[in-house]
């Protein structure tokens, strides 16, 4: 096979390059900066322009990093490689590899529904398509951005009017920026957990409207606050200082009541960086590919569905990607960031 799923990552022998390797390699193409896709230790990295700041922040300023715009091809030993929007988070890309007329696309993590801040997903015609399956079950049908915005705002208004702070939980890279964009016109003071504040800076976003969390900060405000923090704070004593508050958790898993109750969330917002059931099917079919490689998520179920329903040659492949982790500790927050909080 032109691409191999080996012990270190997704490997293209012809080009001598790995895509999102989970072990240090010589040459790595990074689809996006989430920690299960972008790992330390490789000799050189290739990614989209918009990923530069955040990759340097997370992997170290000293990394050897080359960046490309969308649809700008590079040739590696005869393989034509280009990046295309995946709609997942800022800078997220699908990797297209073409060699002797055969086209492969590794989509990394992707989202088909526009969210208003990320370059929207573009289907890339190909023969072989590598897809995630984080939400590859027909019970996952996500609301559109406008509905989500409205729900978030009305929840916040209701709590703020009742004199309660709103603590919103989302990953520091991706979810947090979407929450902030939904709430951009709320008049209340917004406090950012250090991990999110730093991530914003790395993304080149302005933190002008926000206050970075510091010990005792609650006392400097009279009115109820909006607090945005990563999942690691759930259940910690850190939250107590914001009493009285309501806890809103933003995740695709919030679609299920069980997940909502487990997290003790007062409210669950179904907000995800990943494609829902409909999105996955649309994306797969739009590529026109006959060969589908299903990775992280409900992969065996989803591969079976693609085979039976659409007559595609769909197989599962093992990777170490984690999709939208809800139960694991927040992989987006490093210890250093926790201290910064």
């Amino acid at each position: 096979m032109f691409l191999q799923f080996d012990k270190d990552g997704i490997y293209c022998a012809q080009a001598g390059v790995y895509i999102d390797p989970w072990k240090p390699v010589d040459k790595a193409i990074i689809t996006h900066a989430h920690s299960d896709h972008a790992r330390r230790g490789s000799k050189s990295y290739l990614a989209h322009h918009d990923s530069r700041g955040i990759l340097e922040y997370r992997l170290g300023q000293e990394i050897q990093l080359e960046t490309l715009g969308y649809s700008e091809p590079v040739i590696m030993n005869g393989v034509r490689i280009s990046l295309h929007p995946a709609g997942h988070i800022t800078g997220s890309s699908q990797v297209r590899l073409e060699y002797k007329g055969e086209i492969w696309v590794v989509s990394g993590d992707y989202k088909v529904m526009p969210d208003g801040i990320t370059t929207p997903f573009e289907p890339v015609p190909c023969h072989h398509f590598v897809t995630e399956s984080t939400f590859g079950l027909p019970v996952y049908n996500f609301p559109d951005a406008a509905t989500l915005d409205a729900d978030l705002k009305s929840w916040c208004c209701k709590n703020l009017n009742a004199g309660k702070s709103c603590v919103l939980i989302g990953y520091s890279l991706g979810k947090a920026q979407r929450i902030l964009s939904s709430l951009h016109d709320m008049p209340s003071p917004v406090i950012l957990h250090g991990a999110i504040y730093n991530t914003n800076t790395a993304l080149g976003l302005s933190n002008e409207r926000y206050t970075r969390y510091a010990a005792g900060i609650k006392k400097t405000f009279q009115e109820p606050l909006i607090v945005v923090a990563p999942p690691s704070v759930i259940g910690s004593s850190w939250l107590r200082q914001f009493e009285p508050y309501e806890l809103g958790v933003c995740s695709g898993w919030m679609q299920l009541r069980g997940a909502r109750r487990r997290r003790n969330a007062d409210m669950g917002f179904v907000m995800s960086d990943h494609a829902d059931w409909k999105g996955l099917n649309e994306a797969v079919l739009a590529t026109g590919a006959d060969h589908i490689y299903v990775t992280h998520g409900y992969k065996s179920i989803y591969a079976k569905w693609l085979t039976e329903q659409f007559g595609l040659d769909a197989v599962t492949v093992d990777t170490l990607y984690e999709g939208e982790a809800l139960e694991q500790p927040d992989t987006e927050t490093t210890e250093e960031e926790d201290e910064a909080a």
């Binding site: 079950l137 027909p138 019970v139 996952y140 049908n141 679609q255 299920l256 009541r257 069980g258 997940a259 109750r261 487990r262 003790n264 007062d266 409210m267 409900y298 179920i301 079976k304 569905w305 039976e308 329903q309 139960e327 694991q328």
Partner: protein, 532 residues
């Protein structure tokens, strides 16, 4: 339906008691009594029979969602709740608010039982295609299985009490026993002047919390009545109008199961209610709970079984005498009257036995009394303040139970299965094994005991260490040892290991213990023989 849906979501949105009671109270205040009675029935678990088979619901939903049957099955096992699975698969985009009242809907569902399958399908699909997501979910809850929203009876009664300005204790009493929402009028039920109108009605049981305070908080030991804690069926024996009723704590009427008590209706004076524990006692010795189960699960009571496992009631409280409610009298006084009633009865020391009072002059010596419990077939001690009234439900402070420490065994996790509801999509139902030579033999399942954090940790480990999948069950690499606590051990031909545990649960995750140090089957058999 609209108001009930709002109530459902309000209850679901919080884990705190106060907002739940407030939501319930608001609901009762703004809802007609004929709807409220249904809400009460649904919330306290007195729900009517399901009108449609769940296999039919699955088939119709699968069809409507345009997915194959196996995919419905896989979705269901991830979601862990049938009503929720169907709701998510239908993915309604309607924003209509339905006009139908809860009473109308429940009566329509009740009448559905007599329709043909095709007519049932048409009705159900009619709702599925028009209801907005939240109402659709609640509708599906109503036509499928359990209806749990973390509301206890006590909370419902508390709210009713606030809404209708009637004492909580009275409300709890009115709603105990058999009543059907189809033929019960809430107002009539609440209006009843005399609680004795319903001849068979028991009193809500007074329950104790497990002792979790220091002796010093209890004051003087002389102020406490000390009894043994029995491991039988808690029940009330009621004699009114020359009729006998035997109720279990689960509010089941079990009169027919206990012919031993038949004679009491001529023996005890009218208007007598005794609270106690029904137990198999032979020659003054309490037999195991296992034997009791043999009796109670048997459909036909033969002479043989009646002789083999004769039951008695160990009486410890008197709730009504000469038709008068005694619950507000101090325990000491109730006990005096109880002794009078029991000793005056012909059944005294045959089917009725007075619970012996234990004496102890210092808290420090109580532990010894507690430890004697197992030897006499009991579970531990009950501590009841001598001046305590008979409370409704579980209250802290006046009654405590102090059980003996459970048995425990160190066992190896070998199988796991995903849980339901709050634990859906997480491996939380475990099967444990002990060593038999160099083979691990499964002997018990346990579901509870781990913290949420531990559950997540075990779940992640299971997902990475699965050996084989058999349907929903996974076998895992034997690696972790858990301490399993249990209340009793019995022989069981139905289990592969030949033994059955009573109330097994996980006491601790023994990360410190290597696999080889788990207990053996022999250890269990030795324990079995020692306890018999």
């Amino acid at each position: 339906m609209k108001a009930f849906t709002e109530l459902y979501y309000e209850l679901d949105a919080t884990t705190k008691t106060l907002p739940k009671v407030e939501a319930l109270t608001r609901y009762f205040l703004r809802t007609k009594p004929e709807d409220s009675i249904w809400a009460i029935a649904l919330l306290v678990g007195n729900r009517p029979k399901r009108p449609v088979k769940s296999s039919d619901l699955k088939a119709w939903a699968t069809d409507l969602a345009g997915i194959p049957e196996w995919l419905f099955g896989d979705s269901y096992s991830v979601v862990g709740d049938l009503a929720e699975t169907i709701t998510l698969l239908i993915n309604s985009t309607s924003d209509k608010v339905s006009e139908i009242s809860l009473n109308e809907l429940m009566r329509e569902l009740g009448a559905m039982a007599s329709l043909t399958d095709a007519e049932k399908k048409e009705r159900v699909l009619g709702y599925w295609k028009t209801l907005a997501p939240q109402e659709l979910y609640v509708f599906n809850k109503l036509i499928t299985g359990a209806f749990r929203v973390g509301v206890s009876k006590l909370l419902v009664f508390k709210a009713l009490s606030k809404a209708y300005q009637i004492e909580e204790k009275v409300i709890a009493h009115r709603f105990i026993g058999n009543w059907k929402p189809t033929d019960t009028s809430l107002l009539d039920l609440l209006k009843e002047d005399e609680f004795l109108d319903a001849t068979s009605r028991p009193y809500p049981f007074c329950l104790a919390y497990a002792l979790d305070v220091e002796w010093s908080a209890l004051g003087r030991i002389e102020d406490w009545q000390i009894e043994r804690k029995y491991d039988g069926i808690r029940g009330q024996i009621i004699v009114r109008n020359k009729e006998l009723f035997v109720w279990s704590r689960g509010e089941e009427l079990l009169t027919d199961k206990f012919p031993e008590f038949e004679e009491l209706k001529y023996d005890l004076p009218d208007g007598t209610v005794i609270d106690g524990e029904i137990l198999p006692i032979v020659n003054g010795k309490i037999r195991s709970f296992n034997q009791m189960q043999k009796r109670t699960t048997r459909k036909a009571l033969t002479k043989k079984i009646l002789q083999e496992v004769p039951l008695k009631m160990v009486c410890y409280d008197l709730l009504e005498k000469d038709g008068k409610d005694l619950r507000d009298l101090p325990l000491q006084e109730r006990r005096r009257l109880l002794e009078e009633v029991v000793t005056n009865s012909k059944a005294c020391n045959s089917s009725l036995v007075l619970a012996p009072l234990l004496s102890c002059n210092a808290w420090e010596k109580l532990d010894q009394l507690r430890n004697e419990a197992k030897a006499v077939g009991c579970e531990g001690l009950m501590l009841k303040r001598k001046d305590s009234n008979y409370e409704t439900g579980r209250k802290r402070g006046k009654w405590w139970k102090w059980k003996v420490d459970p048995y425990s065994v160190d066992a190896v996790l070998i199988y796991a299965q995903a849980g339901h509801g709050r634990r859906a999509n997480l491996f939380t139902d475990y099967t444990f094994a002990v060593w038999d030579g160099d083979v691990l033999v499964p002997f018990t399942k346990a579901y509870s005991g781990l913290t949420d954090k531990e559950i997540i940790e075990v779940d992640a480990w299971i997902k990475k260490n699965t050996l084989e999948k058999f349907g929903p069950v996974r076998s895992v690499t034997p690696h972790w040892v858990f301490e399993i606590a249990f209340e009793g051990i019995n022989e069981s031909p139905r289990h592969k290991s030949g033994i059955a545990l009573r109330f097994p649960r996980i006491a601790r995750w023994r990360k410190d213990k290597p696999l080889s140090e788990a207990n053996t089957k022999e250890d269990l058999l030795n324990l079995l023989h020692a306890t018999q």
